[in-house]
């Protein structure tokens, strides 16, 4: 089985993001980056599929040289090869998906795995777009994968429950938390990753249709107000919840 995992290099969840001077990108100074957390589930799923069915695993990312750090982590976890689609320009989801799809088309993969979303822009579009460009079935928010003779049964998370769907390989799947418990890269894996190849290719050009005009932070949280400390405060509290906060 040939498994491709597409991963992203995103600001650390603990980073306090500031808007840059251009007003439409983030200020990258002092920002730590990490492997997109949902992509860890996709990598673990790929490793488990390989352990079960044999074959090869490959990880791919589109972006600048900084993405190599994240690709290296995937290699340290056990993925065998990496491709960096080099591109420093700003692209929308459509354009990124198009470039990924062009590369994946040449790889004759059986499974193409993603995290269900990147935690930077939260567009949640790329897995579906890539599947569409490649004409493949796509299953999102996957929490269980069962492959048997080319038949794929997936469990998906839906509002308030789970849904079981059936499709076949080749396909695109987008991993949700709960699919598995991602392994840590072992020290041996980290050393082995040093000698694994990261192949650099030029990302295919593609148009973008969505442009970011501005970015701004949500208004700062208002300080709390203490109305009183006993039962006498309740009527005033209710009045404020009704008239000021307008939540009742």
């Amino acid at each position: 089985m040939k498994i491709v995992v597409c991963i992203n290099h995103v600001p650390d969840t603990e980073t306090k993001v500031k808007v840059g001077t251009d007003g439409k990108t983030i200020d990258k100074a002092g920002v730590n980056y990490m492997l997109n957390p949902y992509d860890e589930f996709a990598i673990e799923a790929a490793l488990q599929l390989k352990e079960k069915f044999g074959g090869e695993t490959l990880v791919m990312s589109l972006g600048g040289d900084a993405h190599k750090e994240t690709l290296r982590k995937a290699l340290a976890m056990g993925i065998e090869k990496a491709i960096l689609l080099k591109d420093d320009s700003i692209r929308d989801s459509y354009s990124i998906a198009k470039a990924l799809a062009e590369e994946i088309r040449t790889l004759s993969a059986d499974c193409i795995l993603f995290g269900k979303q990147s935690i930077d822009y939260y567009n949640e579009e790329i897995p579906g777009l890539v599947a569409e460009f490649l004409g493949l079935p796509s299953v999102s928010v996957v929490v269980r994968i069962n492959i048997n003779n080319g038949k794929v049964i997936c469990e998906r998370e839906i509002e308030g429950g789970h849904e079981v769907v059936e499709t076949k390989i080749p396909l695109v799947m987008a991993a949700q938390k709960g699919l598995n418990e991602p392994r840590y890269p072992s020290l041996k894996g980290i050393m082995a990753a040093k000698t694994k190849p990261i192949e650099e290719r030029q990302a295919a050009t593609a148009s973008s249709y969505v442009e970011v005009l501005t970015m701004h932070k949500p208004p700062p949280k208002q300080p709390g107000k203490i109305i009183g400390t006993d039962v006498n405060a309740v009527p005033e509290l209710i009045r404020l919840l009704r008239e000021e906060a307008k939540v009742l």
């Binding site: 603990e14 730590n32 340290a76 890269p185 020290l187 980290i190 050393m191």
Partner: protein, 389 residues
């Protein structure tokens, strides 16, 4: 809870390689997920979290600088040091476990052992299937190990060991002990497996420090071991001191981890604790303490990185390791005490890690060469005059 972000005031990360950073980040995450949530419970109970052993082995934390053919990661010494730092950010006991297994058991077997001993023991110790301990210190011989009483006598195809060791980390847990004893008046290393007749390893209790770590006595009463259990390349006190030097190197890094945990706790506490209508971090006396802490952590990090680079080039003198161990543990302990002061009464609770680190560091300051002995080692090195007696 906020994920630990590290302490890096001088952008020391820019001096690290990609794999050194990845090793550090991985163990940092492992400690956040697996050590921090359970460590206070074990510290209270006075138990080592044995569940961690297979996980630590899986990550490659045992003997991580030794060759791949024994199942080890073959990392450089800076990566090893960063791993020790992150483990001790969790707890000194957890770092001690990895230190003993790596520097005091696998290192002597690798350095002084026969091919058969290496092939048999190293893979099992790397995989965590077997646990080791190191017996040098005796009840009456601590800083002066040359005076040790434990001795071996030849008897046919055996050596017969008699004597007692004390303060032995992992002693009760160990499947194999690297024991130092005099044979015809010269110190040699011997491998003693658990279960040998005449060998017992009772646990020492009543510790106020390193509670999440097993500390034991090793008692040998006419304990017979086959002659092939001697570590053939050991001769004299230099051999165990070479092992201690490995362990001290890891301790110098580990102390930085403890100090980081205390500083991070104190900084966050000082920014959120309100007194007199403002955060206590706005008071000059608190800021002075925090600045001392971050300055000493930064200096300690730089000492560690440089001894690591020297070690990787084969240029490290043992006296330089003494300086780093002496300095870093001393300041880590001062930092832990200051953190406790900043936290006020809350500092004594095990809701916060600082008092545990402080108590642990009292042991760390004394073990693997006391603070005072390291002073004399560096003192001799710079003056040419030994002042031990």
């Amino acid at each position: 809870m906020m994920k630990f972000q590290g302490v890096d005031y001088y952008n020391i990360e820019s001096l690290l390689s990609e794999e050194e950073i990845l090793a550090r980040s991985t163990i940092r995450e492992f400690v956040d997920d697996n050590v921090i949530p359970i460590i206070e419970k074990h510290n209270r109970a006075g138990t080592y979290p044995m569940d961690l052993v297979p996980k630590m082995a899986e990550l490659g934390l045992f003997g991580s600088t030794l060759p791949a053919k024994y199942g080890c990661a073959e990392m450089n010494n800076v990566a090893y040091g960063l791993v020790m730092q992150e483990l001790e950010r969790g707890d000194s006991g957890v770092r001690s476990f990895a230190s003993v297994q790596s520097a005091l058991v696998m290192y002597p077997i690798y350095t002084f052992g026969s091919e058969q001993q290496k092939d048999y023991w190293l893979p099992k110790l790397a995989s965590g299937d077997k646990i080791g301990c190191f017996g040098l210190t005796e009840p009456d011989y601590g800083s002066n190990p040359a005076g040790m009483i434990t001795h071996a006598n030849e008897k046919g195809n055996c050596y017969v060991l008699n004597g007692a060791k004390m303060w032995i980390t992992n002693g009760t847990l160990a499947d194999v002990a690297v024991v130092w004893a005099k044979l015809n008046g010269v110190i040699h290393g011997f491998l003693v497996e658990k279960g040998r007749k005449g060998f017992s390893a009772p646990e020492m209790t009543g510790k106020h420090s390193l509670r999440a770590s097993v500390t034991s006595e090793l008692i040998f009463q006419d304990c017979e071991i086959p002659k092939e259990n001697i570590l053939p390349k050991t001769e004299g006190l230099k051999s165990p001191l070479m092992c201690l030097n490995q362990a001290r190197y890891g301790i110098a890094w580990g102390a930085v981890g403890s100090a980081m945990a205390c500083y991070d706790t104190a900084l966050n506490y000082a920014k959120s604790r309100i007194q007199f209508g403002k955060p206590i971090a706005s008071f000059q006396m608190i800021q002075e303490k925090l600045v001392y802490m971050v300055t000493e952590i930064t200096k300690a990090q730089l000492l560690c990185l440089q001894i690591g680079r020297l070690k990787d080039r084969g240029k490290l003198k043992y006296q330089q390791v003494s300086m780093a161990k002496r300095n870093n543990v001393h300041h880590a302990l001062e930092i832990a005490r200051m953190a406790r002061e900043i936290l006020g009464a809350n500092g004594i609770l095990d809701e916060y890690p600082v008092m545990r680190h402080m108590a642990n560091l009292e042991s760390v300051k004394t073990y693997e060469g006391t603070h005072e002995m390291h002073t004399l080692i560096v003192g001799e090195d710079i003056t040419g005059i030994p002042a031990y007696v």
